[in-house]
Structure formats: structure tokens, C-alpha cells
């Protein structure tokens, strides 16, 4: 199973490195980078931050645990967190009352977000752009620079109000949003579990608190 990660840092440069998988990518403040890998053998692998990031740089390590599909299901069942990024994003979306405007109703003050990910947008200034992750993040943090054509620039900025953690969950939620039915419903998010997706998104643990298990969902095992 391919794992694709979107990385961003909320403080300094870090670098996400799994030597055994030959992958390494910098986590950069202010922009998304992305890295992918395909784990093939279950086991435990080193995860290092390889860009010098301050006093506890050498403590910014972790393990990548690759499990068989059965093992992963079991781990998931025992896990106490159990929330995917998109689920967290949906919760945050509701908490911030984003759905007050982005609800897909004909009279809504904000554009519908269903299937917005990957689509071509025409902005108020006449330019067109593709709504990728970086665009969605920018639109949340600097909405006045990213007004979709036909809408008024009334969205407040969420710069400083939502952490990078929060932004990445919101983006993940919007990426997985294919209809507006769900936007105003109570939370029922089981079909957003990463198990069902072709790819899962995770996030660079930015900051010093980075120890611990980072589970990597595992699909097929070639043996």
C-alpha cells in the first residue's frame, strides 16, 4: 500500500527521514511538501529528523511500525485514538462554524467545498488555479487573497487561530468531502477511516514532542 504524506512545519525546518525506505523530505514552515513510500515488509524502522532543529534535535526520532493488514486492523481496534485526520477535520470544521457559510445551499455566503479538491477555480481577480493542498491551506490562512469568483471577501483569516495541525486536518477533511449532505449532519464519520482510502495522509509531528509510534497502514505484503 502506498503511503503519501503531506509535510509542513509550524516552527523550524525539520526533515522526515526513514533510512530503511530511502525516503527523506524536509518539513518546511509555510509550505506543504510531500513524500511517498510503499512499505513491503512488516517490522519496525527508524524515523529520524535529519535537519538540525535545535536543542533536542537528536531526540526527534520515532519508529515506523509496518503491520500486516490483519495486524493493522487489530492495532486499530485496540487503539484509543481511532480518529482519522479527516474526522478531526470534520470536528474542527463544525467547531469553527465553517458550515455556516460553506454549506452548499443556493444562498450560502461561501462556495461549496464538495469536490473542490483538485478542481479548477476562477478567482475574484480573474486568475484560475487548481485547488490543491497548498491552495486550500492558503485559502484558510489568507482568505482575502483567495476569493472565488462570485463571492464577497468576507471570510476572516484563520492565521494564528488554527494550528498547522488543525489546518492539515481541515484540508484533509475538505479533500474527502464529496457532497454537502454531511456538512450539517451530526458526526458520523466511520467511512472516513483511512482503511478505506487508496492513500492516507498523515502529518509531520512538528515541534519537539515527536516521540512515539507513528503507525503506517499496511496493505499488501509481498513475501
Amino acid at each position: 500500500m502506498l503511503i503519501q504524506l503531506t509535510l509542513i512545519s509550524q516552527d523550524v525546518f525539520h526533515s522526515f527521514s526513514i533510512p530503511a525506505f530511502r525516503v527523506k523530505r524536509e518539513a518546511i514552515p509555510g509550505r506543504y511538501t510531500s513524500v511517498w513510500f510503499e512499505p513491503t515488509t512488516p517490522g519496525k524502522y527508524h524515523l529520524f529528523c535529519t535537519q538540525y532543529c535545535g536543542t533536542n534535535h537528536s531526540a526527534m526520532i520515532g519508529d515506523i511500525v509496518v503491520l500486516t493488514p490483519e495486524g493493522y486492523k487489530q492495532w486499530l481496534a485496540e487503539s484509543t485514538s481511532g480518529m482519522s485526520l479527516a474526522q478531526n477535520g470534520e470536528r474542527l470544521f463544525a467547531t469553527l462554524s465553517c458550515n455556516a457559510c460553506h454549506n452548499g445551499r443556493p444562498d450560502s455566503r461561501g462556495p461549496s467545498l464538495a469536490n473542490v479538491f483538485g478542481s479548477r477555480l476562477t478567482l475574484a481577480n480573474g486568475s484560475t488555479t487548481t485547488a490543491d493542498e497548498a491552495y486550500l491551506r492558503e485559502a484558510i490562512l489568507n482568505p482575502s487573497d483567495h476569493v472565488t469568483q462570485g463571492y464577497a471577501p468576507i471570510m476572516p483569516t484563520y492565521q494564528g487561530q488554527v494550528s498547522e495541525d488543525g489546518v492539515i486536518t481541515l484540508v484533509e477533511y475538505i479533500k474527502n468531502l464529496h457532497s454537502n449532505d454531511r456538512v450539517e449532519q451530526t458526526l458520523n464519520t466511520t467511512d472516513l477511516l483511512p482503511e478505506g482510502e487508496g492513500k492516507a495522509a498523515s502529518q509531520r509531528p512538528a515541534g519537539s514532542n515527536s516521540q512515539g509510534r507513528i503507525p503506517a497502514p499496511q496493505g499488501t505484503v509481498k513475501q
Binding site: 525546518f13 526533515s15 527521514s17 533510512p19 524536509e26 509555510g30 538540525y52 534535535h57 537528536s58 526520532i61
Partner: protein
């Protein structure tokens, strides 16, 4: 020595060091501190960079000691971070950049081109004072609490997150940078305007060519570093936001600015060393340097290409894939002129009458280690392998092979080679050959295991590391102690030889360079009368004819 030696010393029972020379011309501290003589300034530089080399070396020893065990037990992690930062800052800005140019280059370039001094003697002295000011600022930084940015000053770590002495380090690097700019400027003007009659560009020793190329890099590259450092200082104090994404800035911009200097800086460090090797290889093979023009132009080519490869430090930093392809290709291209040099030196050896005096041993060390350093650079310039190898001990080993195995070997080779000219006395041959061997063995013991550590994935700048990497780190630390002996030995016996070394005479190596045709140590004016050059730099037949006539310009 056995029969395979070229050393020709005068009869020691009657030989005297000339009474009048640049050491004895004037006495007193002020005559040194206010001197305009390029040779005295070179000696001032030699003393000061030696001090900083051993400070930086001691810090390296601390790093290796800490890494002896997987835990962070000798020092706290932030102490470790400060130690490797100071090691980098001191070694790069206060040793490697000025090492050969400011000492040997300063001493030899005017003599090699047949001039009485550099074009701008006061600027030369000013550059030493700036160097000392920069050095003292670094020492102040170290004593008053240190700095832990790493020598790369990566933003936003350096601008927003560290409470250590980033500003004073920045000021130190800024000041030391101007020292380097002035040295480069002086060399360029001197080489253009002060050549003796008949000293055409293609009769210049290759030492001068490589310094010319390095000087261009110093003059064009260092101001960019100065700008980057000033921007870091402004960002840190005033928060101008040029590197801060929250204010519309871009942290990647700092990487571009920093590496635009700091990659060419690598060539500032290595090119003068290559100049030393050309002289030494030619002298101890008794042959012209093979492909003189190719070697001369390869120095210039390195200087030109050196400016267009900086982004290979940033392949995994989210720069566009297409630009990584371009920069990867350009990086491969810069390996070509370096390879030209290595091949030409090898061909110079071919059918030469090779002897194995200490400078030659160091030069052989250079050729082997620099080649490994250069080739592993191609691994890192290849976008695919770079992903795995960058930011690990592989890259640490790579640049230590180039900088320590290459540049430091060249520096020691040059110091031994020109020691008789500088001091008028020989260094003790046997023990110095031993020192060269110890250095070579110690070096490989220290840094070769780091290539393996890097391929296994051990990240650099880690105070603590997973236990499975320990055995190779123990090897590396053990090697570092051998290497330390290899560096302390020359300090001791060269100091000893100042008083007890054998009298060297004008030309102990029977070399062709102009510097060997004047007395040792030289007069303050270098030449009694300005020489007229009627042969090329490595003309050994000319030297034979010259010896028949036995002209000596020794005075007193």
C-alpha cells in the same frame, strides 16, 4: 635518506642563514603589527590560523568523545550543539577559507610573479586585523555562552527560536568575510598589475592561477554571505519578515542566499590547495606539470561552474523537480575540471623521477583522499542517491574528505614544502614523514567509518544515536585520536626546527620557481633587482643551465 632524495643542502659547517632577511630587518612588536610586508603578514596569519585550527580541532575532539557512546552523556545536547557549531564556524571561516591563501599565498604570490610586495600592502594588513577582529568575536561568542545554530545559520531556527549568541556570531562571520574579500581583491590586482617583465599569464606558476580563481570567488561570493547574514540579523532584531512565511517571507530564500556563497566557498577553500599540489607534484617528479594550460583553465572553470551548483544543497527542500535536474547536471559538470587536475597530476608523475619527501607524501594523501571526497560528491549530486545520503554522516565524511583529507593535507604539504624558504631551515625529514603517515592513517580511520554510518542512515548533528551505530563511531573516535597526534607532531617539530633545523640554503629542492632562486629567508624586498622571466614555470632544463652558472642573490 637513501639515494632516492633530491634534497641538496649547503655544507652545514659553513652555511649560515643570511643575516639580513625579512625576519631580522626590523625588530619589536610594532614592526610586526604595523608591517606592510606581505611575508610578515603571512606569518601573522600563520600564527593566528594555527591557534584557531587547534581550538577547532579540540572541539572536534569533544564531538568525537561525545559520540563514543550512544547516549548524550559527556555533554548535554545543547552543549553538544554549541560545540559542533563552534567547530564548524571556526574551521570554515577562521581556518579553511584563509588557510592557504592568507599564509602561503600571501607569502609566495608576490615572489612567484617577481614583485616586491602585494599591490595593496595596507589593505593586506587591514585584512589581517579584520580576521583577528572576527576571530576575537568568535572567541567572545564561545566564552559568553556559545551559539547553536550550526555553521549554516538555518532560518527560522536562527532568527526566531534560539536564545544564544547568534548576533555576535553573525558579526564575526561578517567581519571575517571582509578579511577574505580584501585578500582576494589584493591578489587579483597584484596578479594583473605586478608581474615581472616576461612573466606572461602562461608562465605563471599554477599556484598563482589557482589563487587567482579562488580570489574571484572570494570577491564575488563573500558579499552574498554578508548580505544573508545582515538579513538574518535584521530579521532577528527588527523582524523584517524576509524569511518568515507568516509575514510573506520565504525561509527557502535564506537557503538560496547562504548556499550561493557557501558552495563557492568550498572552492575558495580547495583551489589554493590544488595550487600547492601542482607545485609539489612537479618539483618531486622533476617534470613540467602535464597539461599546464588545462590545469590552469580548470581552476577558472571550477570558479565559474562553482557559482551554478548551489541548489544541490537543497534537493529535498521542496525546490522544483526540474531545477534539481538542472542543478544535478551542473554539479556533475563541476566534477570535470577537478578530475582534469587529478588526471594531469597523475600524468605528471608518469615517468617522472619521483622522490618521497614529506611534502610529496602529503600531496599523495591529497590526491587519494580528495578523489574519494570528489567522487562521493557525485553520489550526493545525483538526485536519487542524494535523498538517502544527504543530512547523514555520509555527507559529513564527504566534506571532511575534501576539506581535511584534501585541503588540510595540501596545507601541510605546502607548509613543509616552503618551510625552508620561509624560515631558512629544514624541518626534520624522518619524523615529518612519520607525521604524514600518521595523519593519513588517522584520517581514514576517523572518516571512512562515517561513510558506512551515513549509508546506514545515521543522521548528522545528533548528540545521541541508536545503539546499533556505536561500533563504527568507536572506530571513528579511535581514528580521531591518531589524527590528533598527526596534527600535534608538525606543530612540535616545526617549532623545534626554527632553532635547531639544518640550514636550508636557497633551493633545497632544486625547484624551478622564482621563489627558490632568492635567498632563504627572503629579503624584505624579495628581489635585489626585479627578475626578467625568460622561461616557463616548470622548466627543469633551464634550472640545469642555471646551476652551471651558480648565481646566488644572497646578501649579507
Amino acid at each position: 635518506m637513501s639515494t632516492d632524495t633530491i634534497i641538496s643542502l649547503p655544507d652545514q659547517s659553513t652555511a649560515r642563514v643570511p643575516k639580513v632577511n625579512f625576519w631580522t630587518k626590523e625588530n619589536g612588536v610594532l614592526s610586526w603589527l604595523l608591517t606592510g610586508d606581505h611575508k610578515r603578514i603571512a606569518m601573522l596569519y600563520l600564527i593566528s590560523i594555527t591557534v584557531f585550527f587547534f581550538i577547532g580541532g579540540a572541539l572536534a575532539g569533544l564531538i568525537r568523545l561525545e559520540l563514543l557512546t550512544p547516549q548524550s552523556d559527556l555533554m548535554a545536547t545543547d552543549t553538544y550543539n554549541k560545540v559542533f557549531t563552534m567547530h564548524g564556524v571556526i574551521m570554515v571561516f577562521l581556518f579553511l577559507v584563509p588557510s592557504v591563501p592568507a599564509t602561503l599565498g600571501n607569502f609566495l604570490i608576490p615572489i612567484m610573479i617577481g614583485a616586491k610586495d602585494l599591490a595593496l600592502p595596507k589593505i593586506n594588513l587591514l585584512s589581517w586585523y579584520l580576521y583577528v577582529a572576527g576571530g576575537i568575536t568568535v572567541l567572545y561568542t564561545m566564552i559568553s555562552g556559545g551559539v547553536d545554530t550550526g555553521w549554516t545559520f538555518t532560518t527560522p531556527l536562527s532568527t526566531h527560536y534560539l536564545n544564544t549568541n547568534v548576533l555576535s556570531t553573525g558579526i564575526a562571520v561578517f567581519i571575517a568575510g571582509f578579511s577574505s574579500i580584501f585578500t582576494g581583491l589584493n591578489f587579483i590586482v597584484t596578479i594583473h598589475k605586478m608581474r615581472a617583465p616576461g612573466m606572461t599569464w602562461f608562465r605563471l606558476p599554477l599556484f598563482v592561477w589557482s589563487h587567482y580563481a579562488a580570489s574571484i570567488l572570494m570577491v564575488l561570493g563573500t558579499p552574498v554571505l554578508a548580505i544573508a547574514i545582515v538579513l538574518v540579523a535584521l530579521e532577528r532584531t527588527l523582524g523584517i519578515g524576509i524569511f518568515d512565511p507568516a509575514k510573506g517571507g520565504d525561509p527557502i530564500l535564506f537557503q538560496h542566499l547562504f548556499w550561493f556563497y557557501s558552495h563557492p566557498a568550498v572552492y575558495i577553500m580547495i583551489l589554493p590547495g590544488m595550487g600547492v599540489i601542482s607545485e609539489v607534484i612537479s618539483t618531486f617528479s622533476r617534470k613540467r606539470v602535464f597539461g599546464y594550460t588545462a590545469v590552469a583553465f580548470s581552476s577558472v572553470a571550477i570558479a565559474v561552474f562553482g557559482f551554478f551548483v548551489w541548489e544541490h544543497h537543497m534537493f529535498i527542500m521542496g525546490v522544483s523537480t526540474y531545477s534539481t535536474l538542472v542543478f544535478s547536471l551542473l554539479t556533475m559538470l563541476v566534477a570535470v575540471p577537478s578530475a582534469i587536475k587529478i588526471f594531469n597530476w597523475t600524468f605528471t608523475l608518469y615517468k617522472g623521477s619521483i622522490t618521497f619527501e614529506t611534502p610529496m607524501l602529503y600531496a599523495f594523501g591529497f590526491m587519494g583522499l580528495f578523489t574519494i571526497g570528489g567522487l562521493t560528491g557525485v553520489f550526493l549530486g545525483t538526485t536519487g542517491t542524494d535523498i538517502h545520503l544527504t543530512e547523514t554522516y555520509f555527507i559529513v565524511a564527504h566534506f571532511h574528505f575534501v576539506m581535511v583529507g584534501g585541503m588540510l593535507m595540501a596545507f601541510l604539504s605546502g607548509i613543509h614544502f616552503w618551510w625552508p624558504k620561509i624560515t631558512g631551515r629544514m624541518y626534520p625529514e624522518k619524523i615529518s614523514q612519520l607525521a604524514a603517515l600518521v595523519t593519513f592513517i588517522g584520517f581514514n580511520f576517523t572518516f571512512f567509518p562515517q561513510f558506512i554510518l551515513g549509508t546506514l542512515g545515521m543522521p548528522r548533528r545528533y548528540a545521541a544515536y541508536p545503539a546499533e551505530f556505536q561500533i563504527l563511531n568507536v572506530f571513528s573516535t579511535a581514528g580521531a585520536t591518531i589524527l590528533g597526534v598527526g596534527y600535534v607532531l608538525p606543530l612540535l617539530y616545526l617549532a623545534w626546527s626554527l632553532k635547531y633545523g639544518e640550514i636550508a640554503g636557497n633551493n633545497p629542492w632544486q625547484a624551478t620557481g622564482l621563489e627558490w632562486q632568492i635567498q632563504s629567508p627572503p629579503l624584505t624586498e624579495n628581489f635585489v633587482e626585479i627578475p626578467v622571466m625568460d622561461h616557463d614555470a616548470y622548466d627543469y632544463e633551464w634550472l640545469e643551465r642555471q646551476k652551471e652558472k651558480e648565481v646566488t642573490t644572497s646578501v649579507g
